[in-house]
Each structure stands twice: as structure tokens, then as C-alpha cells.
């Protein structure tokens, strides 16, 4: 066994941290400058021309999905729930990427040159559906950006004499500098370098901490010392599943639908490479995040108390306690890489939403000025950075906000997915179902009404239906409608016997499930008798390039859709095609 930790952790010092940050952000800035153009193209700024290859796209998807909070949360899950904790965090997070790819293929088929999912909703339904999705995307990206700045400020403050405020300013400035000029292109290319640094560091750091902290003997000694409970020793912990895993399963599709960073890469990758890209990112994310979570499992068996009682300190604490300074520097780069790659993606996502959904589609695709679009995109990045810095200093509980936004996105999943397959879904069905789901979700999630009596039974019934909806949608992507109905119905019937009187104790899980079931029920009821027969080929003509430099003949809109050219509401026009 190594000597017991003294409580001191290795410091990188102000010069060490400054050199590492200079190397990291200098390198990414150099890459960004290398691909910059005197005259950027508005479409490339958002989707890099819709033709990036496997290596770049897989690297970018992996780097974007691994963010600093996912590493911290996985370590916390390992420490709290034991050996199954990181699985119940990382596996479901990974499956978010995997389960969205069949839907992604469908989305690319109907809207091959779109920029945002909300833009496609505009073409499918109209302005209200577009703005609901765009609004939730903006909220999610600003929260994610804030969270990454907080993680950066915290790690700099812990490993150097610099304080938290200086830390978040350095991170925000570094990310903004290399992303501002080339937008998504810079985000994607720098993701490659960042993912190499992150994965390379994970390969070294996890076994290094394991062996330097005592190796295999830590397990038997941890059990003998009473550091772990039987639940924490179990690979099938019900505590871990109900409190950590189940709410994440419910959020699997919600995060993928609600997160514009995924949609942006979906529209950027070459269409035939969607599957290998998403599968690689699934394994890459899962292995890295679950692997880093093993630091939490080790901390648990070793009986380590988190510094200041804050479990978020565990990862830097484990690294700083057991590793030599060179490997601590490597871990520092891993964390900076994870948060920067996600933060630059959030900036690129936010700029795309404002460029496309706020400006582009409001004036009409053919009337949009690409130069003004680029200016709007860059201003958006600066404003978003300022907002995230403000929220970071206000120290909101970011993970709580994320869980809340994830459940909010749950209200959108069924209406969004159904809109890509079912011709009968109307704008009214989309909008009303999301709003009603939200109205039922909020009192459940925040316990505005005590979960008892008839209200509790109603919520549990909706949550039980929600289980079937979640699993049904997942099955639909891979196996089609018949399998989805069978699996969804079977799941609901299977949960019926024990769901009542039980689910009310898990308000986070119940809230998410209610969001799914209510949006499904309302959307289905309002659509099933609809006479609408939407022509999906219309979406391709409404979404497309804004910049003349990349416009192609196939983008020409069919006759009879002139309302879009003048920026009119597409519903006026699309009704003719239905």
C-alpha cells in the first residue's frame, strides 16, 4: 500500500497553469487561424458544408458530448453508489448518442442541408413550433456554457493560486477567441486535438491512480474497513438504478433532441457516415466517462473524504493526491479539453440558432444577408459568453438546472420525432401537446401539489404510461412502429403492478415520465383525427443554404411556395402541399 494521503494535493503553480493554458489555447487558436478565411461563408460557419468526414466528425461528436460536468458527475456517482454508479451515469449518457442516430438519418433525409432542428420544425409546422424548440435549445446551451466555465474556474482555483473569477475569465476568453472567427469549423477541427488530449490522458490517468493508490488490494481493504455498503459493492444496485440510472434513461432521447450541438453535427457529417460517427462517439463517450468515474469508486474503497465536503472536488483531489506533477498537468489538460470542446460547441450552436431561427427564417431564406448573418452569429457568441460569465459568478446549481432542462426537453421528444414520420401531426398538436405537458410536468417536478390521493394516482398512471412511451420511441428508431407498440405496451403493463404507490417517491423520474406521456397523449389525440397529409419533400425546399456561394440548383424552391421567399409563415404555404 502507498503511504496514506496527507490531505495535501499537488499544485501546478501559477507558472505551470499559465504555461499549460497558453499551450492549450495557443494551439487551438493556431488551428483556428490556419483554417480561417478572409470572407467566411455563413453556411460553413454553421455546418461546415454538410460534408465532413468520419475522423473529424467522430472526434467532434465525442469531444462535444464529453464535458467537464460529465466527468465530475461520473466520479460523484462512483463515490455515492459504488461500482455500478458510473455505469448508471455514463452508459445512459452514451446511449443518448446511439438512440438518436436512426432518427438522425431520417432528419437528414428530409432536410439534408438544414442548420438547426428548430429550422426543420419551422418548415414542418411553423413559427411557434420552431421558437419553442429554439428557445429550449438556447436555454440548454447557455446553461451548458455556464457549467463549463464554472468547471474551468474551479479546477484553476484548485490547482493554482489563481482565484475562481480569474479562472472563468481565462476559460471564457480562450474559448471565445478561437471560436469567434470561423465558428463551427473551428469548433470541429479543434475538437480533434482536444479529444486526442482527453482520451490520451484518460488512458494514462485511470490506471496510474489505480496502481499508485494501492492497486487491487484496495478493494479487499476497503470492504474490511467498512468503507462500502453491500449496495455499493453490487453491480445491480437498486439505489443506483432508481436514483441515478432511471432518470437518465428517461432523459436519453430528451438530451439528444434538445441539444443543438448534436443536431449541428448531424447536419455537418457526410450523410453516409452518420452511423459510424454516432456509434464511435457512443463507445468513446461511454468508455471515457465511466472510466473516469472509476476514480470515484477508488475514492470510496479508499475511504477518502472529499475536500470541504464537496464531492465535486473528488476528481482533482484523487489526481492531486496520488499522481506526480507531470500527470496532474495531464489531468488538467484533460479537464480543460473536455470543457473547452463543449463550450466552443455551445457557442457555435447558439450562434447557429440565432443566425438561422431568429434572423434567417424570419426574413426568408432567399432574403437573408450572409454577411449580416455572420455578424449576428459572432455577436451572439460574445453576448452568450457574457451571459454565461454572469451566471457562473452567480453560482447557480447547474446540475439541478440541467436536470430540469432535460425534463423540459422530454415534453418535446414525441412531438418532434412524430413530426418527422407522421403526416397527420399539426402545428396545433405540436404546440398544445408541449404546453400541456409542461403544465403537468412543473407541479410534479417541483412538488407544487403534494403527491397524495387522486393526484398521486394520476401522476403515477401518467408515469407508467411514460415508461412505455420512452421505450416505445427508442424501439421505433431501430425496429419500426410495430415493435415500438409491442415494446411500449409491454413495458407499461409490466410496470403497472408496482408503479402505483411507488413512483411517487421519485419526483425527478416521475416528472420526466409525465412529460413524455402527456405530450404523447395530447399530440396523438389531436393528430389522429386530423385530415392533414403533409408532404415531407417540402421541408427540403424550405431549409437550405443561406449563402449564395454554396446554394445549389436543387435548393431552388418548387413553385407554389413563394410565401417562404418573402418570409411569410410557412403554414400558409405548406397547407397547400398537405
Amino acid at each position: 500500500m502507498p503511504p496514506a494521503p496527507s490531505g495535501e494535493i499537488v499544485q501546478l503553480g501559477i507558472i505551470g497553469v499559465a504555461l499549460l493554458l497558453l499551450l492549450f489555447y495557443g494551439g487551438t487558436m493556431w488551428m483556428s487561424v490556419a483554417i480561417s478565411r478572409k470572407q467566411e461563408n455563413a453556411d460553413d460557419y454553421m455546418t461546415a458544408g454538410n460534408r465532413i468526414g468520419f475522423g473529424v466528425s467522430a472526434a467532434s461528436m465525442t469531444a462535444t458530448w464529453i464535458w467537464a460536468s460529465s466527468m465530475y458527475a461520473s466520479v460523484t456517482a462512483g463515490y455515492t453508489y459504488g461500482v455500478s454508479g458510473p455505469i448508471h451515469y455514463g452508459l445512459w449518457g452514451a446511449l443518448m448518442i446511439l438512440f438518436i442516430y436512426p432518427f438522425g438519418k431520417r432528419i437528414r433525409k428530409v432536410a439534408p442541408r438544414a442548420h438547426t432542428l428548430a429550422e426543420v420544425m419551422y418548415a414542418r409546422h411553423g413559427r411557434s413550433s420552431q421558437l419553442m424548440l429554439a428557445g429550449s435549445n438556447v436555454l440548454g446551451s447557455v446553461i451548458s456554457l455556464t457549467s463549463n466555465f464554472i468547471a474551468g474556474g474551479a479546477i484553476i482555483a484548485m490547482l493554482s493560486p489563481l482565484n475562481f473569477g480569474a479562472g472563468i475569465l481565462i476559460i471564457a476568453g480562450g474559448v471565445l477567441l478561437y471560436t469567434l472567427w470561423s465558428g463551427f469549423r473551428a469548433s470541429v477541427l479543434t475538437d480533434f486535438a482536444q479529444v486526442m488530449a482527453m482520451l490520451g490522458a484518460a488512458v494514462v490517468i485511470i490506471p496510474a491512480v489505480f496502481f499508485l493508490a494501492g492497486g487491487p488490494s484496495m478493494f479487499a481493504e476497503g470492504v474490511a474497513s467498512g468503507n462500502v455498503t453491500p449496495q455499493q459493492e453490487s453491480f445491480f444496485s437498486s439505489d443506483a438504478f432508481m436514483n441515478q440510472g432511471a432518470p437518465y434513461i428517461a432523459a436519453v432521447l430528451a438530451y439528444a433532441i434538445g441539444n443543438q450541438t448534436i443536431a449541428q453535427r448531424l447536419f455537418a457529417v457526410r450523410e453516409d457516415l452518420i452511423k459510424p460517427t454516432f456509434v464511435t462517439a457512443t463507445v468513446g463517450y461511454g468508455a471515457t466517462v465511466i472510466g473516469v468515474g472509476m476514480l470515484g469508486v477508488m475514492a470510496l474503497y479508499l475511504g477518502i473524504e472529499p475536500m470541504g465536503g464537496d464531492v465535486n472536488n473528488l476528481m482533482p483531489q484523487m489526481v492531486g493526491t496520488y499522481l506526480p506533477v507531470a500527470l496532474v498537468a495531464l489531468a488538467f489538460v484533460m479537464i480543460i479539453g473536455s470543457l473547452s470542446s463543449t463550450a466552443d460547441s455551445d457557442l457555435a450552436a447558439l450562434s447557429s440558432i440565432v443566425m438561422t431561427d431568429i434572423y434567417g427564417q424570419s426574413v426568408g431564406r432567399r432574403n437573408a444577408d450572409p454577411k449580416l448573418m455572420l455578424l449576428i452569429g459572432r455577436i451572439t457568441m460574445i453576448v452568450a459568453t457574457g451571459l454565461a460569465l454572469y451566471f457562473a459568478t452567480a453560482r447557480f446549481n447547474i446540475l439541478d438546472l440541467l436536470v430540469f432542462v432535460g425534463a423540459l426537453w422530454g415534453c418535446l421528444v414525441f412531438p418532434v420525432i412524430a413530426s418527422f414520420y407522421w403526416k397527420k401531426v399539426t402545428n396545433t398538436a405540436f404546440t398544445v401537446s408541449v404546453l400541456v405537458a409542461l403544465a403537468v410536468f412543473l407541479p410534479v417536478r417541483f412538488e407544487l401539489l403534494p403527491l397524495e390521493g387522486a393526484w398521486a394516482l394520476l401522476v403515477e398512471l401518467l408515469a407508467i404510461i411514460g415508461v412505455g412511451v420512452v421505450l416505445g420511441i427508442m424501439a421505433f428508431g431501430f425496429f419500426g412502429l410495430r415493435a415500438a407498440i409491442v415494446i411500449g405496451a409491454t413495458a407499461t403493463i409490466a410496470v403497472l403492478p408496482f408503479g402505483f404507490g411507488y413512483l411517487r417517491d421519485f419526483e425527478t423520474l416521475s416528472g420526466s415520465l409525465v412529460a413524455y406521456s402527456v405530450s404523447f397523449l395530447v399530440c396523438w389525440l389531436l393528430s389522429v383525427r386530423s385530415s392533414q397529409d403533409f408532404d415531407f419533400s417540402v421541408i427540403k425546399s424550405v431549409t437550405g443554404d443561406f449563402d449564395e456561394e454554396t446554394a445549389t440548383a436543387e435548393d431552388e424552391e418548387p413553385t407554389g411556395h413563394s410565401a417562404h421567399r418573402s418570409g411569410g409563415d410557412p403554414d400558409d404555404d405548406l397547407l397547400g402541399a398537405r
Binding site: 483554417i35 461546415a48 465532413i52 468526414g53 468520419f54 475522423g55 473529424v56 467522430a58 472526434a59 465525442t62 461500482v83 469549423r185 470541429v188 477541427l189 480533434f192 479529444v195 486526442m196 482520451l199 490520451g200 484518460a202 488512458v203 494514462v204 485511470i206 490506471p207 489505480f210 492497486g215 487491487p216 488490494s217 478493494f219 479487499a220 464511435t280 463507445v283 468513446g284 468508455a287 471515457t288 465511466i290 472510466g291 472509476m294 469508486v297 477508488m298
Partner: protein, 42 residues
């Protein structure tokens, strides 16, 4: 149990290494193709 837990902890970095190699090879292929076609990689 000790051997199982040790394998459980150490299997993840091995998987990560596999993905790292896959992505690096994919990136190198992208770069080669872009150079051959005379266009930027991104």
C-alpha cells in the same frame, strides 16, 4: 472478486485507447483524402 473489480476498473482505459486509435486513423484518412482532392479538411 478482487480480480473482477480490477478488470472492471482497467477495461475502460483499454476501450478508450481503441477509440482513440480509431478516431486518429479516421482523421488521418480524412486529411489524406482532402489533400488528394486539393481541398481543406474542414
Amino acid at each position: 472478486m478482487t480480480a473482477l473489480l480490477t478488470a472492471y476498473v482497467l477495461m475502460w482505459p483499454v476501450l478508450v485507447l481503441g477509440i482513440l486509435i480509431t478516431i486518429a486513423r479516421g482523421f488521418a484518412k480524412d486529411a489524406r483524402e482532402a489533400r488528394k482532392e486539393g481541398r481543406p479538411i474542414i
